[in-house]
Subunit: 129 residues, 2 copies
DNA sequence: CCGCATGTTGACGTTAACGTAAACGTTATC
DNA sequence: GATAACGTTTACGTTAACGTCAACATGCGG
């Protein structure tokens, strides 16, 4: 079991983000660390939330959307509407990803063709010389 | 063979973007349509460039990066450095996509678990009543 | 007590990719 | 010749997600 708490710079270092970023997430209501005096103290649960935010970010979700995602993990949430709309967003992401994968495949093929053409052109140029 | 030229609103309608967007791409040097008087006229080649820009956008490339991509299709480009750096970017995108796909899979699994828990909780609540 | 690391709260700055609006010209059509 | 429909330029506005100060407090080893 993860027991220790974290300072803001602990988390910043671990996830390679700035402390400003972490405070920003708090401003936006995504994190609510407790305080020791004025200093922020993060529990393992807070750390998990942060991970969720960053994963959402990788997937192109906005912070608002990540907030929804986090709420889904909260036991006290039986909000079916929220759940369905989130699921819809995830499915949309999924189809976007499929489109993107296709785009990438095509792009690499095309680039290879462009490369071939360039090589041909260079070879022809050589002959002409 | 595609023969006809296009007006700015033709393209805007076809790709579901605004004319402002198309002009913006021109401002940024990604398109250079010829003019008829002051009006812009787009060739099929221009249209293809636009498609490349939008595909790049889907993949998360910046306009600057899309510009590089477009240049790769220009026969007059034997710039190996440019090619290599672009290829590197594409490979990075590819690994990002793989990461994202993984993230999505995990996320959907987790959500299903969250759903199950919620259902359990509701069932338990029902019994207690 | 000094200096340094680490923390805090504002508050303003930044960037990309357009949106929005004003003010105007051109063409077609009724 | 009035009215759309479509085009133009110029210029300021917008949004998200932080960056970048400044100015200050706090704890601690030496």
């Amino acid at each position: 079991m993860t027991r220790a708490d974290y300072s803001i710079s602990d988390l910043a270092a671990e996830f390679d983000i700035t402390t400003r970023t972490i405070r920003f997430y708090e401003e936006k209501g995504l994190l609510q660390p407790r305080r020791s005096g004025s200093s922020r103290i993060y529990t393992p649960a807070d750390r998990t939330k942060l991970k969720l935010i960053l994963r959402g970010k990788r997937l192109g979700f906005s912070l608002d959307e990540s907030r929804s995602i986090i709420e889904m993990y909260d036991p006290a949430h039986g909000n079916t509407d929220q759940y369905n709309s989130l699921l819809a967003k995830i499915r949309e992401k999924r189809s976007q990803l499929e489109q993107q994968l296709h785009d990438i495949e095509v792009m690499m093929l095309e680039l290879r063709e462009a490369e071939d053409k360039a090589l041909e052109a260079m070879a022809a140029g050589g002959k002409r010389k």
